[in-house]
Protein backbone atom coordinates (compact mmCIF):
# COMPACT_ATOMS: atom_id res chain seq x y z
CA UNK A 1 0.00 0.00 0.00
CA UNK A 2 2.86 2.32 0.90
CA UNK A 3 4.57 2.05 -2.44
CA UNK A 4 1.29 2.51 -4.26
CA UNK A 5 0.83 5.74 -2.31
CA UNK A 6 4.33 6.85 -3.21
CA UNK A 7 3.75 6.19 -6.88
CA UNK A 8 0.39 8.00 -6.88
CA UNK A 9 1.73 11.06 -5.05
CA UNK A 10 4.83 11.15 -7.25
CA UNK A 11 2.84 10.79 -10.45
CA UNK A 12 0.35 13.46 -9.37
CA UNK A 13 3.11 15.94 -8.62
CA UNK A 14 4.86 15.24 -11.92
CA UNK A 15 1.67 15.55 -13.95
CA UNK A 16 0.80 18.74 -12.07
CA UNK A 17 4.15 20.31 -12.88
CA UNK A 18 3.99 19.21 -16.51
CA UNK A 19 0.52 20.73 -16.82
CA UNK A 20 1.75 23.94 -15.20
CA UNK A 21 4.67 24.08 -17.61
CA UNK A 22 2.45 23.54 -20.64
CA UNK A 23 -0.24 25.94 -19.51
CA UNK A 24 2.12 28.60 -18.12
CA UNK A 25 1.12 31.33 -20.65
CA UNK A 26 -2.55 30.75 -19.83
CA UNK A 27 -2.15 30.64 -16.08
CA UNK A 28 0.39 33.38 -15.58
CA UNK A 29 -1.29 36.66 -14.68
CA UNK A 30 1.56 38.78 -16.10
CA UNK A 31 4.52 38.65 -18.41
CA UNK A 32 7.34 37.18 -16.30
CA UNK A 33 9.88 39.62 -17.71
CA UNK A 34 7.99 42.91 -17.45
CA UNK A 35 9.60 45.03 -14.80
CA UNK A 36 7.74 47.63 -12.84
CA UNK A 37 9.95 49.35 -10.33
CA UNK A 38 6.96 50.92 -8.64
CA UNK A 39 6.04 47.45 -7.45
CA UNK A 40 9.53 46.58 -6.15
CA UNK A 41 9.23 43.88 -3.47
CA UNK A 42 5.47 44.37 -3.39
CA UNK A 43 3.56 42.13 -1.01
CA UNK A 44 0.89 39.73 -2.29
CA UNK A 45 -2.24 41.34 -3.66
CA UNK A 46 -5.17 40.30 -5.82
CA UNK A 47 -3.32 41.30 -8.95
CA UNK A 48 0.03 39.85 -7.87
CA UNK A 49 -0.93 36.76 -5.82
CA UNK A 50 2.62 36.06 -4.67
CA UNK A 51 3.88 39.58 -4.77
CA UNK A 52 6.73 40.96 -6.85
CA UNK A 53 10.48 40.51 -6.81
CA UNK A 54 13.17 43.11 -6.40
CA UNK A 55 12.59 44.38 -9.93
CA UNK A 56 8.86 44.46 -9.69
CA UNK A 57 8.21 41.33 -11.75
CA UNK A 58 5.25 39.12 -10.94
CA UNK A 59 6.58 36.29 -8.77
CA UNK A 60 3.81 33.81 -9.62
CA UNK A 61 4.28 34.25 -13.36
CA UNK A 62 8.02 33.78 -12.97
CA UNK A 63 7.51 30.60 -10.97
CA UNK A 64 5.11 29.23 -13.59
CA UNK A 65 7.49 29.97 -16.44
CA UNK A 66 10.32 28.54 -14.35
CA UNK A 67 8.61 25.14 -14.55
CA UNK A 68 9.22 25.26 -18.29
CA UNK A 69 12.96 25.67 -17.82
CA UNK A 70 13.33 23.02 -15.15
CA UNK A 71 11.27 20.33 -16.84
CA UNK A 72 11.76 21.42 -20.43
CA UNK A 73 15.54 21.33 -20.24
CA UNK A 74 16.01 18.13 -18.32
CA UNK A 75 13.26 15.73 -19.41
CA UNK A 76 13.72 15.77 -23.22
CA UNK A 77 17.49 15.59 -22.93
CA UNK A 78 17.31 12.71 -20.50
CA UNK A 79 14.79 10.79 -22.59
CA UNK A 80 17.06 10.96 -25.63
CA UNK A 81 20.06 10.04 -23.52
CA UNK A 82 18.22 7.13 -21.92
CA UNK A 83 17.21 5.73 -25.29
CA UNK A 84 20.77 5.90 -26.59
CA UNK A 85 22.17 4.48 -23.36
CA UNK A 86 19.72 1.57 -23.49
CA UNK A 87 20.62 0.66 -27.05
CA UNK A 88 24.38 1.10 -26.73
CA UNK A 89 24.61 -0.39 -23.24
CA UNK A 90 22.53 -3.46 -23.99
CA UNK A 91 24.16 -4.12 -27.32
CA UNK A 92 27.69 -3.75 -26.03
CA UNK A 93 27.15 -5.87 -22.95
CA UNK A 94 25.45 -8.54 -25.04
CA UNK A 95 28.27 -8.55 -27.57
CA UNK A 96 30.96 -8.42 -24.91
CA UNK A 97 34.58 -8.20 -26.04
CA UNK A 98 36.32 -5.09 -27.34
CA UNK A 99 33.20 -2.96 -27.88
CA UNK A 100 32.09 -3.50 -24.32
CA UNK A 101 35.55 -2.72 -23.03
CA UNK A 102 35.59 0.58 -24.94
CA UNK A 103 32.16 1.56 -23.58
CA UNK A 104 33.27 0.71 -20.05
CA UNK A 105 36.46 2.72 -20.41
CA UNK A 106 34.58 5.69 -21.84
CA UNK A 107 32.15 5.62 -18.93
CA UNK A 108 34.98 5.50 -16.43
CA UNK A 109 36.72 8.45 -18.03
CA UNK A 110 33.57 10.58 -18.19
CA UNK A 111 32.55 9.67 -14.67
CA UNK A 112 35.87 10.91 -13.36
CA UNK A 113 34.81 14.50 -14.06
CA UNK A 114 32.09 16.04 -11.90
CA UNK A 115 29.20 17.56 -13.81
CA UNK A 116 30.01 21.06 -12.60
CA UNK A 117 33.57 20.86 -13.92
CA UNK A 118 32.38 19.76 -17.37
CA UNK A 119 29.80 22.55 -17.40
CA UNK A 120 32.31 25.21 -16.35
CA UNK A 121 34.79 24.03 -18.96
CA UNK A 122 32.20 24.07 -21.72
CA UNK A 123 30.79 27.45 -20.70
CA UNK A 124 34.20 29.08 -20.57
CA UNK A 125 35.61 27.37 -23.66
CA UNK A 126 32.60 27.33 -25.97
CA UNK A 127 29.75 29.59 -25.08
CA UNK A 128 27.79 30.69 -22.03
CA UNK A 129 24.50 29.28 -23.27
CA UNK A 130 21.80 26.77 -22.49
CA UNK A 131 23.32 24.47 -25.11
CA UNK A 132 26.50 24.23 -23.05
CA UNK A 133 24.62 23.19 -19.93
CA UNK A 134 22.62 20.63 -21.84
CA UNK A 135 25.78 19.21 -23.38
CA UNK A 136 27.42 19.06 -19.96
CA UNK A 137 24.44 17.25 -18.45
CA UNK A 138 24.34 14.98 -21.49
CA UNK A 139 27.99 14.03 -21.19
CA UNK A 140 27.91 13.45 -17.48
CA UNK A 141 24.54 11.72 -17.23
CA UNK A 142 25.09 9.49 -20.25
CA UNK A 143 28.11 7.92 -18.56
CA UNK A 144 26.02 7.07 -15.51
CA UNK A 145 23.11 5.85 -17.60
CA UNK A 146 25.35 3.69 -19.75
CA UNK A 147 26.99 2.24 -16.72
CA UNK A 148 23.70 1.37 -15.05
CA UNK A 149 22.31 -0.13 -18.24
CA UNK A 150 25.46 -2.17 -18.67
CA UNK A 151 25.31 -3.58 -15.18
CA UNK A 152 21.62 -4.45 -15.52
CA UNK A 153 22.17 -5.97 -18.94
CA UNK A 154 25.13 -8.00 -17.73
CA UNK A 155 22.98 -9.64 -15.07
CA UNK A 156 20.23 -10.32 -17.60
CA UNK A 157 22.70 -11.71 -20.14
CA UNK A 158 23.73 -14.37 -17.66
CA UNK A 159 20.17 -15.64 -17.43
CA UNK A 160 19.46 -18.59 -19.61
CA UNK A 161 16.62 -17.12 -21.60
CA UNK A 162 19.16 -15.07 -23.53
CA UNK A 163 21.05 -18.25 -24.35
CA UNK A 164 17.75 -19.93 -25.13
CA UNK A 165 16.89 -17.17 -27.56
CA UNK A 166 20.31 -17.51 -29.13
CA UNK A 167 20.09 -21.24 -29.66
CA UNK A 168 16.59 -21.01 -30.99
CA UNK A 169 18.13 -19.03 -33.83
CA UNK A 170 17.36 -15.41 -32.96
CA UNK A 171 19.72 -12.75 -34.32
CA UNK A 172 21.73 -10.44 -32.05
CA UNK A 173 19.65 -7.37 -32.80
CA UNK A 174 16.47 -9.31 -32.13
CA UNK A 175 17.79 -10.59 -28.81
CA UNK A 176 18.82 -7.10 -27.75
CA UNK A 177 15.59 -5.42 -28.85
CA UNK A 178 13.04 -8.06 -27.92
CA UNK A 179 14.61 -9.87 -25.00
CA UNK A 180 17.25 -7.75 -23.34
CA UNK A 181 15.82 -4.22 -23.43
CA UNK A 182 12.29 -5.11 -22.20
CA UNK A 183 13.83 -6.80 -19.17
CA UNK A 184 16.40 -4.12 -18.45
CA UNK A 185 13.80 -1.37 -18.85
CA UNK A 186 11.89 -1.74 -15.54
CA UNK A 187 15.03 -1.39 -13.46
CA UNK A 188 16.32 1.38 -15.66
CA UNK A 189 13.11 3.41 -15.43
CA UNK A 190 13.64 3.62 -11.69
CA UNK A 191 17.11 5.00 -12.18
CA UNK A 192 15.86 7.27 -14.93
CA UNK A 193 13.16 8.94 -12.80
CA UNK A 194 15.59 9.68 -9.99
CA UNK A 195 18.02 10.86 -12.69
CA UNK A 196 15.47 13.47 -13.78
CA UNK A 197 15.38 14.87 -10.26
CA UNK A 198 19.17 15.10 -10.30
CA UNK A 199 19.11 16.84 -13.68
CA UNK A 200 16.52 19.39 -12.52
CA UNK A 201 18.68 20.16 -9.51
CA UNK A 202 21.74 20.46 -11.73
CA UNK A 203 20.06 22.89 -14.14
CA UNK A 204 18.95 24.98 -11.18
CA UNK A 205 22.35 24.94 -9.54
CA UNK A 206 23.94 26.12 -12.78
CA UNK A 207 21.35 28.87 -13.02
CA UNK A 208 22.02 29.74 -9.39
CA UNK A 209 25.70 30.10 -10.19
CA UNK A 210 24.85 32.11 -13.26
CA UNK A 211 26.22 29.51 -15.62
CA UNK A 212 24.49 29.04 -18.95
CA UNK A 213 21.34 31.11 -18.59
CA UNK A 214 21.01 34.80 -19.42
CA UNK A 215 20.57 37.02 -16.38
CA UNK A 216 16.94 37.56 -15.54
CA UNK A 217 15.71 34.26 -16.93
CA UNK A 218 12.72 33.08 -14.88
CA UNK A 219 14.40 29.87 -13.75
CA UNK A 220 14.01 28.62 -10.18
CA UNK A 221 17.73 28.42 -9.47
CA UNK A 222 18.34 31.84 -11.00
CA UNK A 223 15.42 33.27 -9.02
CA UNK A 224 16.92 31.87 -5.84
CA UNK A 225 20.17 33.59 -6.68
CA UNK A 226 18.49 36.93 -7.33
CA UNK A 227 16.41 36.62 -4.17
CA UNK A 228 19.56 36.17 -2.13
CA UNK A 229 20.07 39.93 -2.15
CA UNK A 230 16.69 40.58 -0.62
CA UNK A 231 16.83 37.81 1.95
CA UNK A 232 16.21 40.28 4.79
CA UNK A 233 13.83 42.63 3.01
CA UNK A 234 11.64 40.05 1.26
CA UNK A 235 12.46 36.47 2.41
CA UNK A 236 9.38 34.98 0.73
CA UNK A 237 11.14 35.40 -2.64
CA UNK A 238 13.66 32.81 -1.63
CA UNK A 239 11.05 30.43 -0.26
CA UNK A 240 8.77 30.14 -3.31
CA UNK A 241 11.32 28.88 -5.87
CA UNK A 242 12.88 26.70 -3.17
CA UNK A 243 9.54 25.02 -2.48
CA UNK A 244 8.93 24.53 -6.20
CA UNK A 245 12.31 22.86 -6.63
CA UNK A 246 11.89 20.60 -3.63
CA UNK A 247 8.35 19.54 -4.50
CA UNK A 248 9.20 18.91 -8.16
CA UNK A 249 12.26 16.80 -7.34
CA UNK A 250 10.34 15.03 -4.59
CA UNK A 251 7.72 14.06 -7.17
CA UNK A 252 10.30 12.33 -9.35
CA UNK A 253 12.09 10.75 -6.40
CA UNK A 254 8.85 9.43 -4.90
CA UNK A 255 7.85 7.92 -8.22
CA UNK A 256 11.29 6.37 -8.63
CA UNK A 257 11.33 4.90 -5.16
CA UNK A 258 7.80 3.62 -5.40
CA UNK A 259 8.58 1.96 -8.71
CA UNK A 260 11.78 0.48 -7.35
CA UNK A 261 10.01 -1.07 -4.39
CA UNK A 262 7.20 -2.47 -6.49
CA UNK A 263 9.59 -3.95 -9.03
CA UNK A 264 11.61 -5.50 -6.21
CA UNK A 265 8.41 -7.04 -4.91
CA UNK A 266 7.71 -8.65 -8.24
CA UNK A 267 11.13 -10.23 -8.21
CA UNK A 268 10.42 -11.72 -4.81
CA UNK A 269 7.18 -13.23 -6.07
CA UNK A 270 8.84 -14.75 -9.08
CA UNK A 271 11.69 -16.13 -7.01
CA UNK A 272 9.49 -17.96 -4.54
Amino acid sequence: MKRKGQIIVGMTLIILFILLAVAAPLLAPHDPNTTNLALKNASPSAEYPLGCDHMGRCELSRLLYGTRYSLGLSIPVLIILAAIALLVGCYSSYKDGVADEIVRLLCDILMAFPLIVIAMALVSAVDNSVASIITAIGISMSAWFLRMVRSYAKTECQKEYIEAARISGASSSRIVLKHLIPNVLPQFIVYFTTGIATAIMSVSSFAFLGVGLIAGTPEWGAMLNEARNSIYTNPSLIIYPGICLIVCCAGFNLLGEGLRDSIGKEDEISAS
Binding site: A164, A165, S168, G169, S171, P182, I269, S270
Partner: protein, 259 residues
Protein backbone atom coordinates in the same frame (compact mmCIF):
# COMPACT_ATOMS: atom_id res chain seq x y z
CA UNK B 1 24.58 -41.05 -37.79
CA UNK B 2 23.16 -37.79 -36.50
CA UNK B 3 25.87 -36.57 -34.16
CA UNK B 4 29.48 -37.48 -33.73
CA UNK B 5 31.90 -35.79 -31.39
CA UNK B 6 35.56 -36.47 -32.05
CA UNK B 7 38.50 -35.55 -29.83
CA UNK B 8 36.72 -32.56 -28.39
CA UNK B 9 39.02 -30.39 -26.35
CA UNK B 10 37.88 -27.29 -24.51
CA UNK B 11 40.35 -24.92 -22.93
CA UNK B 12 40.01 -21.57 -21.25
CA UNK B 13 41.99 -18.69 -22.70
CA UNK B 14 44.03 -18.80 -19.49
CA UNK B 15 45.25 -22.23 -20.60
CA UNK B 16 43.23 -24.33 -18.18
CA UNK B 17 41.76 -27.45 -19.76
CA UNK B 18 38.09 -28.03 -19.03
CA UNK B 19 37.46 -31.05 -21.20
CA UNK B 20 39.92 -33.17 -23.07
CA UNK B 21 39.73 -36.00 -25.56
CA UNK B 22 35.96 -36.39 -25.49
CA UNK B 23 34.61 -38.65 -28.22
CA UNK B 24 31.18 -40.15 -28.58
CA UNK B 25 28.46 -40.63 -31.12
CA UNK B 26 24.71 -40.88 -31.03
CA UNK B 27 22.82 -42.99 -33.51
CA UNK B 28 19.43 -42.06 -34.85
CA UNK B 29 16.74 -42.82 -32.29
CA UNK B 30 19.21 -43.59 -29.56
CA UNK B 31 19.67 -42.05 -26.15
CA UNK B 32 23.07 -41.33 -24.68
CA UNK B 33 23.55 -40.23 -21.11
CA UNK B 34 26.53 -38.26 -19.92
CA UNK B 35 26.92 -38.95 -16.23
CA UNK B 36 29.28 -37.40 -13.73
CA UNK B 37 29.36 -35.37 -10.57
CA UNK B 38 29.05 -31.59 -10.53
CA UNK B 39 31.90 -29.80 -12.23
CA UNK B 40 32.83 -32.75 -14.39
CA UNK B 41 32.45 -30.68 -17.55
CA UNK B 42 29.17 -32.16 -18.74
CA UNK B 43 27.41 -28.85 -19.29
CA UNK B 44 30.46 -27.36 -20.97
CA UNK B 45 30.48 -30.22 -23.48
CA UNK B 46 26.79 -29.59 -24.22
CA UNK B 47 27.32 -25.89 -24.58
CA UNK B 48 30.18 -26.46 -26.97
CA UNK B 49 27.90 -28.55 -29.15
CA UNK B 50 25.36 -25.71 -29.09
CA UNK B 51 28.04 -23.10 -29.79
CA UNK B 52 27.21 -21.31 -26.57
CA UNK B 53 30.68 -21.00 -25.12
CA UNK B 54 31.89 -17.43 -24.89
CA UNK B 55 35.01 -15.84 -26.29
CA UNK B 56 36.99 -17.07 -23.27
CA UNK B 57 36.82 -20.66 -24.42
CA UNK B 58 38.76 -22.38 -27.14
CA UNK B 59 37.30 -25.48 -28.70
CA UNK B 60 39.30 -28.05 -30.62
CA UNK B 61 38.38 -31.31 -32.30
CA UNK B 62 35.28 -31.98 -34.35
CA UNK B 63 31.55 -32.00 -33.80
CA UNK B 64 30.01 -33.59 -36.85
CA UNK B 65 26.33 -33.19 -37.64
CA UNK B 66 24.94 -34.32 -41.01
CA UNK B 67 28.46 -34.64 -42.36
CA UNK B 68 29.50 -31.12 -41.44
CA UNK B 69 31.75 -29.90 -38.68
CA UNK B 70 29.67 -27.55 -36.54
CA UNK B 71 32.78 -25.87 -35.17
CA UNK B 72 33.77 -24.70 -38.66
CA UNK B 73 30.37 -23.67 -40.03
CA UNK B 74 29.54 -19.98 -40.57
CA UNK B 75 27.23 -18.36 -38.03
CA UNK B 76 24.37 -17.91 -40.43
CA UNK B 77 24.22 -21.60 -41.21
CA UNK B 78 24.50 -22.49 -37.54
CA UNK B 79 21.48 -20.35 -36.75
CA UNK B 80 19.42 -22.50 -39.09
CA UNK B 81 20.58 -25.67 -37.38
CA UNK B 82 20.29 -24.62 -33.74
CA UNK B 83 16.75 -24.55 -32.50
CA UNK B 84 15.56 -26.47 -35.54
CA UNK B 85 17.71 -29.58 -35.97
CA UNK B 86 19.45 -29.52 -32.62
CA UNK B 87 17.48 -28.35 -29.62
CA UNK B 88 18.71 -27.70 -26.15
CA UNK B 89 16.88 -27.97 -22.85
CA UNK B 90 18.33 -25.63 -20.28
CA UNK B 91 19.49 -26.55 -16.83
CA UNK B 92 17.60 -23.85 -14.95
CA UNK B 93 13.97 -23.50 -16.05
CA UNK B 94 13.27 -20.46 -13.85
CA UNK B 95 15.58 -18.20 -15.82
CA UNK B 96 15.25 -19.81 -19.20
CA UNK B 97 12.16 -17.83 -20.21
CA UNK B 98 11.97 -14.15 -20.96
CA UNK B 99 10.13 -12.83 -17.87
CA UNK B 100 8.34 -10.09 -19.78
CA UNK B 101 6.65 -12.17 -22.47
CA UNK B 102 3.72 -14.57 -22.07
CA UNK B 103 4.50 -18.28 -22.47
CA UNK B 104 2.26 -18.65 -25.50
CA UNK B 105 4.00 -15.84 -27.34
CA UNK B 106 7.42 -17.23 -26.50
CA UNK B 107 6.48 -20.62 -27.91
CA UNK B 108 5.07 -18.92 -30.98
CA UNK B 109 8.26 -16.98 -31.54
CA UNK B 110 10.33 -20.12 -31.16
CA UNK B 111 8.19 -21.86 -33.74
CA UNK B 112 8.06 -19.03 -36.25
CA UNK B 113 11.82 -18.62 -36.13
CA UNK B 114 12.12 -21.73 -38.27
CA UNK B 115 8.71 -22.22 -39.84
CA UNK B 116 6.35 -20.49 -42.21
CA UNK B 117 3.42 -18.70 -40.65
CA UNK B 118 0.42 -20.89 -39.97
CA UNK B 119 -3.02 -19.88 -38.63
CA UNK B 120 -3.07 -18.92 -34.95
CA UNK B 121 -5.66 -21.54 -33.98
CA UNK B 122 -3.67 -24.32 -35.60
CA UNK B 123 -0.55 -23.16 -33.82
CA UNK B 124 -2.31 -23.04 -30.46
CA UNK B 125 -3.77 -26.50 -30.96
CA UNK B 126 -0.30 -27.79 -31.69
CA UNK B 127 1.13 -26.18 -28.56
CA UNK B 128 -1.64 -27.53 -26.39
CA UNK B 129 -1.14 -30.99 -27.79
CA UNK B 130 2.58 -30.87 -27.10
CA UNK B 131 2.04 -29.59 -23.56
CA UNK B 132 -0.59 -32.25 -22.84
CA UNK B 133 1.77 -34.88 -24.11
CA UNK B 134 4.22 -33.80 -21.44
CA UNK B 135 1.61 -34.21 -18.75
CA UNK B 136 0.52 -30.61 -18.33
CA UNK B 137 -3.14 -29.89 -17.73
CA UNK B 138 -4.88 -26.53 -18.03
CA UNK B 139 -2.82 -25.64 -21.08
CA UNK B 140 -4.90 -22.60 -22.01
CA UNK B 141 -4.05 -20.93 -18.72
CA UNK B 142 -0.38 -21.82 -19.07
CA UNK B 143 -0.11 -20.28 -22.50
CA UNK B 144 -1.64 -17.05 -21.24
CA UNK B 145 0.63 -16.79 -18.20
CA UNK B 146 3.93 -15.06 -17.61
CA UNK B 147 6.83 -17.34 -16.61
CA UNK B 148 7.00 -16.16 -12.99
CA UNK B 149 3.45 -17.36 -12.35
CA UNK B 150 4.37 -20.97 -13.08
CA UNK B 151 6.33 -23.49 -11.04
CA UNK B 152 9.79 -24.74 -11.89
CA UNK B 153 8.53 -28.16 -12.84
CA UNK B 154 5.94 -26.70 -15.18
CA UNK B 155 8.48 -24.41 -16.80
CA UNK B 156 10.83 -27.31 -17.28
CA UNK B 157 8.20 -29.21 -19.20
CA UNK B 158 7.22 -26.12 -21.16
CA UNK B 159 10.85 -25.76 -22.11
CA UNK B 160 10.91 -29.31 -23.35
CA UNK B 161 7.73 -28.55 -25.27
CA UNK B 162 9.43 -25.50 -26.78
CA UNK B 163 12.21 -27.75 -27.99
CA UNK B 164 9.80 -30.35 -29.34
CA UNK B 165 7.56 -28.05 -31.38
CA UNK B 166 10.37 -27.60 -33.88
CA UNK B 167 10.70 -31.39 -34.29
CA UNK B 168 14.45 -31.60 -33.81
CA UNK B 169 16.66 -34.45 -34.87
CA UNK B 170 18.77 -34.13 -31.78
CA UNK B 171 17.59 -33.12 -28.36
CA UNK B 172 20.17 -32.17 -25.76
CA UNK B 173 18.77 -32.20 -22.25
CA UNK B 174 21.01 -30.61 -19.67
CA UNK B 175 19.86 -31.81 -16.23
CA UNK B 176 16.31 -31.67 -17.52
CA UNK B 177 14.93 -33.68 -14.63
CA UNK B 178 16.28 -31.70 -11.70
CA UNK B 179 13.31 -29.44 -11.05
CA UNK B 180 10.55 -32.03 -11.27
CA UNK B 181 9.26 -34.49 -8.70
CA UNK B 182 9.84 -38.24 -8.89
CA UNK B 183 6.50 -39.10 -10.52
CA UNK B 184 6.82 -36.56 -13.25
CA UNK B 185 10.45 -37.44 -13.69
CA UNK B 186 9.57 -40.99 -14.63
CA UNK B 187 6.81 -39.77 -16.94
CA UNK B 188 9.28 -37.41 -18.56
CA UNK B 189 11.89 -40.11 -19.04
CA UNK B 190 9.23 -42.25 -20.69
CA UNK B 191 8.39 -39.32 -22.96
CA UNK B 192 12.02 -38.93 -23.93
CA UNK B 193 12.21 -42.65 -24.59
CA UNK B 194 9.15 -42.38 -26.80
CA UNK B 195 10.78 -39.57 -28.72
CA UNK B 196 13.71 -41.89 -29.39
CA UNK B 197 11.33 -44.40 -30.89
CA UNK B 198 10.07 -41.65 -33.18
CA UNK B 199 13.62 -41.18 -34.42
CA UNK B 200 14.91 -38.33 -32.29
CA UNK B 201 18.37 -38.76 -30.86
CA UNK B 202 18.61 -37.67 -27.25
CA UNK B 203 21.70 -36.58 -25.40
CA UNK B 204 20.88 -36.60 -21.72
CA UNK B 205 23.15 -34.94 -19.22
CA UNK B 206 22.53 -35.93 -15.65
CA UNK B 207 24.06 -36.72 -12.31
CA UNK B 208 21.19 -39.03 -11.55
CA UNK B 209 22.07 -42.59 -12.52
CA UNK B 210 18.44 -43.64 -12.14
CA UNK B 211 17.44 -41.23 -14.87
CA UNK B 212 20.35 -42.39 -16.96
CA UNK B 213 19.21 -46.01 -16.71
CA UNK B 214 16.59 -45.53 -19.44
CA UNK B 215 19.23 -44.57 -22.00
CA UNK B 216 20.91 -46.89 -24.47
CA UNK B 217 24.44 -45.86 -23.68
CA UNK B 218 26.21 -44.17 -20.82
CA UNK B 219 29.31 -42.04 -20.86
CA UNK B 220 30.88 -41.41 -17.48
CA UNK B 221 32.83 -38.19 -17.12
CA UNK B 222 35.02 -36.79 -14.39
CA UNK B 223 37.33 -33.77 -14.34
CA UNK B 224 36.82 -33.17 -18.04
CA UNK B 225 37.79 -36.65 -19.12
CA UNK B 226 35.84 -39.67 -20.28
CA UNK B 227 36.17 -42.33 -17.60
CA UNK B 228 34.13 -45.07 -19.12
CA UNK B 229 31.66 -45.55 -21.91
CA UNK B 230 29.47 -48.42 -22.97
CA UNK B 231 26.01 -49.95 -23.02
CA UNK B 232 23.82 -48.86 -20.12
CA UNK B 233 23.36 -52.34 -18.73
CA UNK B 234 27.05 -53.16 -18.82
CA UNK B 235 27.97 -49.93 -17.06
CA UNK B 236 25.33 -50.27 -14.39
CA UNK B 237 25.93 -53.99 -13.75
CA UNK B 238 29.66 -54.38 -14.24
CA UNK B 239 31.40 -51.06 -13.96
CA UNK B 240 35.11 -51.36 -14.68
CA UNK B 241 36.45 -48.10 -13.37
CA UNK B 242 36.67 -47.03 -9.74
CA UNK B 243 34.91 -43.74 -10.35
CA UNK B 244 31.88 -45.42 -11.90
CA UNK B 245 31.64 -47.79 -8.96
CA UNK B 246 31.85 -44.81 -6.66
CA UNK B 247 29.04 -43.03 -8.52
CA UNK B 248 26.90 -46.15 -8.39
CA UNK B 249 27.43 -46.66 -4.68
CA UNK B 250 26.66 -42.97 -4.06
CA UNK B 251 23.40 -43.23 -5.92
CA UNK B 252 22.35 -46.38 -4.06
CA UNK B 253 23.16 -44.59 -0.82
CA UNK B 254 20.88 -41.78 -1.90
CA UNK B 255 18.09 -44.25 -2.48
CA UNK B 256 18.74 -45.77 0.95
CA UNK B 257 18.37 -42.39 2.59
CA UNK B 258 15.06 -41.69 0.95
CA UNK B 259 13.40 -45.01 1.73
Amino acid sequence: MPLKVKDLKITLSSGETIADNISFQIEKGQMLSIVGSSGAGKTTVCKSIMGLLGANYKTGGEIIFQGENLLALPKKKLRQIYGKEICFIMQNPMTAFNPSIRIGKQLKKTYLQHHEKIPESELLAQFEMTLKRLGLEDTKRILKNYPFALSGGMLQRIMIAAALINRPQILIADEATTAIDACNKMALMKQLRKLCEEGVSVLLVTHDLKAASVSDQILVMNHGKVIETGKTETILREPKEEYTKYLLSASSLERGCCS
